[in-house]
Amino acid sequence: MGFIYEGLLKAFQLLFDGNPETWSAVYITLCVSSLSIFLTILLGAPLGFVLGYYRFKGRETLRMFTDTLLSFPTVVIGLLVYSLVSRQGPFGDYGLLFTLPGIAIGQVMLGMPIVVAMVANAVENAESGMKETLLTLGADKFQVLRATLWETRYHLMLAGVAAYGRIVSEIGISMMVGGNIKWHTRTITTAIALETGKGEFAMGIALGVVLLIIAFGVNFSVAKLKRRAGQ
């Protein structure tokens, strides 16, 4: 038990004394996860909207495909992205291996299905009843679209927050594609893996505390948004 207590104590020291290694991992995690979630929402939300709003051929298959992708293991994504961005791979020329944009590619793949599936669901649910009502009230197509977007705003945010929670805590992609390079691609999760592996539990616990705070923040937002969304 002693070492957990010692670890916690030292963890707070590291955090509050501004230990550069600890804060570098925190900063890098925030940088790369912000980039990832931005791209995920930018690409995922419209796709999810189209998938939930429009009726077209192959839509059911596409939805099933997205739902399946929800359980894509992060190590498999890591492996996939590694083989794509390795200098021997098809995108090797861009030099993305061992960079944050490289990690972001994998994290977008991880977050996309979540955003697409959740947005599609929300839009589908909101739209089904509302569309007829609005049309009978004389609304034009654009107004229906706008109303649907407004109605699902909390769901859109919820999707983003849920995806962020997954992105910020993933390790497989960061480790494989990022290479866990100190000061450059060492994120909170890869640093925890390294430090505990070395037996330096204090540093691991310090970073664990930060990750927990972020995760709690994210989940708190999810809970609030869910209530507002009326789920």
Partner: protein
Amino acid sequence: MKKFAALLLALALLVPAMAQAKDKVLMMATTTSTDNTGLLDELMPEFTKDTGIDIRWTAIGTGKALAMGRNCDVDVLLVHAPGAEKKFVKDGHGIGRTQLMYNDFVIVGPDTDPAHVKGLPVEKALKAIAKAKAPFASRGDNSGTNKKEISLWKAAGMAVPDKADWYMQLGQGMLKTLNAAAQKGAYTMTDRGTWIKYMDVNKGKTPLNIVVEGDKVLFNQYSAIAINPAVCPKAKVELANEFIGWMASPKAQKAIGDFRLLGKQLFTPNAGK
């Protein structure tokens, strides 16, 4: 909308900042021992100060480092498996191979020494461990240490006990393997540098002790290899050679010899010898 625009702007600034196209970036793949012991953390700031080269390394074990070299994903290697390295160079993936430093491997085991191997030569010790079916933790990750361990089983006239109940292949770095061996009361083989680091991290409180050392087959040579630009056009061979030259320089060699934990030397420099 203004907020959104501000966010967009912030991200637009962030992305290029993260990509930072510095021209003097050298990418290295190395063994876990050079990184985990803190040797690179000690030496590399000096290297950057002297040469202006921003060196970045990923610590993954010799086997994977060589694979990354073959894939052209790094510019230089710092590894310790002479046999595999020579083949790597012979196959045209690397140019030159400069030996930089050495330490030695040791076999460590639990206080109780269940197989009674203390002080035995390597060959006899491994036979005794196998005979007693005493737990043995292996890196099992194709690293330099793992390659060495496998060659020692073979040299002792045994097949690698791949499926034996008492033989645990962890697929992890050396410090993790040492931790696992301590928890499981197992023997394991480690390089002396990582062993001293392990003692340092645990403040000397560990159920493991060195049981076999000093056998000349346990010699552990570290070398650097520049990736061949004829095979990997993007490999930065000039920067790689600058790194190797710096590591072999009297200044760096002295720093390697001076690197100590618990008052003990972890690596012995031997460039040009």
